[in-house]
């Protein structure tokens, strides 16, 4: 037990207060409870320590988002609106405040990794972030948590070359928007093919442009794809990251590609998430000196989400 490193979970009870209207909205507060309960019951329980996030500051949010969006978001929730731009993007009175805390979870995660080299950090947070654009919410996402963490890592610790690997079932259009014209950041995404899945972006042909040419790797998967197809693309991801030579990695850890999750047509298994954890640990060890922070994105099947997260964490800490 002594040589087993702890797992740091950055989370807060406040995440339950982002109100998506109850009824059948998939991005529900119960997602947090499903993860917490499973981790408390499972065999990782005695290795887990919890840290609280801090709200991202306005200047940190503005590293990606526009001033106009911050005002519009805050005003919408304070005036009692129940959604912004599209009924998918449900909000409650506290949602702006909780979204700043969700965006801040990654910042705490980055601090931990910088102060405790090799630390295993998972940000158990909501609302998720990877669809959020500079001036607009999309697909339950309001602030782009992964991009905000990347900008913080660059500015606070001078780790300029950041790669985000996103295995959520959906393409992280907002992350691609942030990185597609930059040479020093990279984005790799596996997701269900955009012809069949939200948000209709993430084509293999998009590889970045201008200074960012070659920094985007989209690997769309056919409906029904699972372990076999994912294991087949991992060597391409490895090679891409090897060529990019990142200083740090951020993982957009979404679990909605599980076969029982209604939000995609993909068919990942719980064990595939363990294998993804092993893969992330290996690329972090090899290319970034272990500097990696995982941030929760999607994952909506309350019966499976906890097991998927747990399996991923097992993969991250598994002894060779």
């Amino acid at each position: 037990m002594d040589n087993e490193p702890p797992i740091t979970i950055v989370t807060a009870p406040a995440f339950l207060r982002h109100d998506t209207g109850g009824s059948d909205h998939p991005e529900a507060p119960e997602r947090m409870l499903a993860i917490t309960d499973r981790l408390a019951e499972g065999h990782l329980a005695n290795r887990i320590r919890h840290l609280s996030p801090r709200p991202a500051m306005r200047s940190q949010l503005l590293a990606f988002h526009t001033e106009g969006w911050l005002f519009r978001f805050e005003e919408a929730v304070l005036s009692g609106r129940t959604y912004i731009d599209h009924p998918d993007n449900q909000v409650g009175y506290d949602s702006y405040e909780i979204a700043t805390l969700s965006a801040g979870a990654g910042l705490v995660g980055v601090d931990v990794v910088e102060h405790e080299p090799g630390a295993v950090v998972f940000c158990q947070t909501r609302p998720p972030g990877h669809h959020a654009e500079p001036n607009q919410p999309y697909g339950f996402c309001f602030f782009n948590n992964c991009v905000i963490a990347a900008r913080y890592w660059q500015r606070q610790y001078n780790r300029q070359r950041i790669c985000i690997f996103d295995f959520d079932a959906h393409h992280g259009n907002g992350i691609q928007t942030a990185f597609e014209e930059e040479a020093e950041t990279a984005y790799v995404s596996i997701h269900e093919h955009p012809s069949f899945s939200y948000p209709g972006t993430g084509w293999a042909e998009d590889r970045g442009w201008g200074a960012g040419k070659g920094t985007i790797l989209n690997l769309p998967l056919s409906p029904g794809a699972g372990e076999e197809q994912v294991l087949r693309v991992l060597p391409r991801i490895y090679k891409f990251i090897q060529q990019f030579q990142p200083d740090a990695l951020i993982i957009g850890a979404g679990f909605d590609a599980h076969r029982d999750d209604d939000m995609s047509g993909l068919a990942f298994t719980v064990d595939l998430y363990r294998q993804l954890g092993v893969f992330v640990r290996e690329i972090a060890r090899e290319f970034t000196g272990g500097r990696v922070v995982s941030i929760l994105e999607g994952g909506y099947n309350l019966q499976k989400l906890g097991s998927c997260v747990e399996a991923y964490l097992v993969g991250l800490v598994e002894m060779e």
Binding site: P26, H86, P87, D88, H131, E133, Y138, G139, F140, H170, N173, H193, P194, S195, F196, S197, Y198, P199, G200, T201, S222, P223, G224, D262, M263, S264, G265
Partner: protein, 219 residues
Amino acid sequence: MFIRSHMTPSPITVTPETTVAEAIDVLQQYNIRHLLVVDGEGRLQGILSDRDLRSARPSTVARSKEREQVEAQINSTPVSVLMTRDCLTLNPNATLDDALLLFQSRKIGAFPVLNEEDKVVGVFTTADLMNAYRCLFGLGEKGSVLISIEDSGDPQAMSKLVRVMEEKQVSFTRLVRTGGGICKGKPMIFLRINTYNVRSVHRALEAEGFTIHVPEEFR
């Protein structure tokens, strides 16, 4: 649907006296492939394509001395010699459909757009047409997904689809029924929806008896 809204207004033009060398510079400078030739009043005299200009120049396999001479001669030739005078034009009130059919039947790449006084008010190219249809069909709009539904021929299929979308409170922006005519493949109905929860839409449609089309290679 009207050309007026999709053309490039106030296009770059040259006069008939412009030399070939100058015209090539203009095409390169603005990264365009068609150049309208107008008189001092802005009335159309002809159209030049980059291909017209390229094919006027001597072959690169010609002997070098000969090539230099011919090239110098061509470069100082006025574009009035090379331009197509009798070109097809569009009125700003023509439709995208008119333009598509003309592009196809005449195998050309651009139309000058003229007003009632025959003055040039715009140019409409195949690239403009693609952009226009991209907008009309919502291609690449973030947050949208196209669903393909096999068309069983039910005459009420369209109204049923709209009803299902309204009952499920799913916003959708395009509903297109193909089949028959010159379309290849099975008759289909295409529906562009704006929601994260694509599977629940599939389920709702299947419950109404519709079949979601997934190509064989994606099964």
